[in-house]
């Protein structure tokens, strides 16, 4: 079975900093990966699909890179509203990672 590993589990950062979240898959998935943001009490929101394509309305400070088995989500100039849990999801069988919680200091 596919294993998705997101790291770190939790991250505490200051506003204005740049954050890099990692998602690794146990099998090659080309660029069939999406990233979601979920704030408390809200449904998830699609940020990135196709590993690097920003969804409609997503600010340019969110960027995705990677292919194969290693992927990253970078949030540049972190803002207070970016405090959330970030999930990666590989397309096949719609498998989600466990998420990375980003807290602001």
């Amino acid at each position: 079975d596919m294993v998705m590993t997101e790291s770190p589990a939790t991250l505490s950062v200051s506003p204005g900093e740049t954050v890099t979240l990692s998602c690794r898959t146990s099998q090659h998935i080309n660029n069939d990966l999406a990233w979601y943001q979920q704030k408390p009490g809200q449904p998830p929101r699609l940020l990135i699909y196709g590993a690097s394509l920003r969804a409609t309305g997503i600010p340019a400070r969110f960027s995705g890179t990677g292919s194969g088995t290693e992927f990253t989500l970078t949030i540049s100039s972190l803002q207070s509203e970016d405090s959330a849990i970030y999930y990666c999801q590989q397309y096949n069988v719609w498998t989600f990672g466990r998420g990375t919680k980003v807290d602001l200091k």
Partner: protein, 122 residues
């Protein structure tokens, strides 16, 4: 982005059944797959299945096959998730989402409903 509106939170007793709904825009409902996703308290996301309302083609997560039922009523642009023989382990938030689907059972989710909280308690 597509607006999906889900039914309200529900409280049920163990052993009971429930059916929750997700209504989409009539203008485009026939051309999208709709997914149902479960999120248990404090936990991550798990896709349960997807349906193509236009012809009710339905595909379920292999790990949940037989435990849930997904259906659609095109006349009111609504999909349903039915759970039977409810247990405490069914306590969760359930989301519907528009699925951009590929191949046999893959894709991503680009618009989400607001969620329906299901509480199973005696």
């Amino acid at each position: 982005e597509v607006q999906l509106v889900q039914s309200e939170a529900v409280v049920k007793k163990p052993g009971e059944s429930l059916k929750i709904s997700c209504k989409g825009p009539e203008s485009s409902f026939f051309s999208y797959w709709i997914a149902w996703v479960r999120q248990m308290p404090g936990a991550g996301l798990e896709l349960m299945g997807i349906i193509y309302p236009s012809d009710s083609d339905t595909k379920y997560s292999p790990s949940l096959q037989g435990q849930v039922s997904i259906s659609a009523d095109m006349s009111i642009s609504t999909t349903y998730l039915q759970l039977t023989s409810l247990k405490a382990s069914d306590n969760a938030m359930y989301y519907c989402a528009r699925a951009v689907a590929f191949g046999e059972f893959s894709g991503y989710l680009d618009s989400w409903g607001q969620g329906t909280l299901v509480t199973v308690s005696s």
